[in-house]
Amino acid sequence: MIDTKTKYMNPYLAGVLLGLVLLAAFYLTGRGLGASGAMKSAVVATVDVVDANYATTNSFFGKFLGGPNSPMKSWLVFEVLGVLVGGFISGAFAGRLKFKIEKSPNITNRRRIILALIGGALFGFGSQLGRGCTSGAALSGMAVLSVAGYVTMVCIFGTAFALAYFFRKNWI
């Protein structure tokens, strides 16, 4: 019998290791982890390429332009490129590299894709309004005992719990 419990790392051990990675980020660079900030850089850089005039005059995108460097030459962009590499290495070792749409058998691929797109759009939008996502605002913020970190964490998980019932058919 295959013991499915050994497929992934023990979650508490993984948590300690993730905490040590986060601690290393603080120790080396004075800042925590992040993800949505890199996506923002990608959006700003793309808008700048498509219409540089609009990008610099837009009061949000313009904030990240005009410096000596491209918005892509940022800490979070390089960190997220690392996440891609690290995730790939782990997946390769664990034999989990496979193109697939993961979903409940109760829903179609099409529905899963539409939900992923809508969910992503909400998360992307919310991460800008909330000045960071689960990594940068919640996890890193909690480690430095920031009020913003705890508030963001409670709002993200609290809302997901509150809405879980209405979206249950998509998952269970």
């Binding site: 979650p11 982890l33 960190e79 891609l84 809508i118 919310g126 605002a137």
Partner: protein, 200 residues
């Protein structure tokens, strides 16, 4: 003395190399923990798999305790470490919107990148959605700006707000986390879904 790179004025190139290496560690651990699976992440909200709770809180506690000790031993200058700025309204509204995105889309930005790295197509679409969401935020920024910048209270620490020492708050957070782990482990048995668990 830490933070090493800003204090020693190392070059931006070295800082970006550190970012890349830290990212590799971040992505590797997320994937090892199973955060590359949307159904495993969503399990948290239905009780059949509370890996998210265990990993997330253990990580936050580890880094929190590590920083407190480094600070206590005088090995890190916490005045240079970034503390998140708190804009009360946008933090709450943004967090609520992100929570909706989480249960609808099944990922958050970091986990979507990790899942896309091993070939999850739903994660790639989630990233595409995130880019669209950020673009829409930029387009509507002028209209959102009053909310975005309202109720700014600086970068308060929870321990200062409560008027307690960092160590005591850390102890309280650890206590609550252990209680949640205990409850969560019970929930995992109560809402067990072997059909889902063997697939993810």
């Amino acid at each position: 003395m830490a933070p090493i790179i800003p204090l020693n004025g190392y070059t931006e190139e070295l800082n970006l190399l550190a970012a890349f290496l830290i990212g590799i560690g971040f992505g590797f651990v997320l994937e090892q923990a199973g955060f590359s699976s949307s159904r495993k992440l969503a399990g948290m909200f239905y009780g059949y798999d509370i890996t998210v709770l265990k990993v997330f809180f253990t990580a936050a506690i580890t880094a929190m305790v590590g920083l407190i000790f480094l600070n206590y031993l005088g090995l890190i200058d916490m005045s240079i470490v970034y503390i998140n700025q708190y804009y009360i309204k946008s933090a709450i509204v943004g967090g609520v919107i992100m929570g909706a995105g989480f249960i609808i889309g099944g990922f958050c930005p970091g986990t979507s990148v990790c899942a896309a790295a091993i070939g999850k197509i739903d994660a790639m679409i989630f990233i595409g959605g995130s880019l669209i969401g950020i673009f829409i935020f930029g387009l509507t920024y002028d209209w959102l700006e009053p909310l975005y910048n309202d109720a700014f209270v600086g970068a308060p620490k929870l321990s200062e707000e409560l008027g307690i020492k960092d160590g005591l708050l850390a102890f309280a957070v650890i206590f609550m986390a252990v209680m949640m782990f205990w409850l969560g482990e019970k929930a995992e048995k109560m809402f067990k879904r072997d059909d889902i668990s063997k697939e993810i």
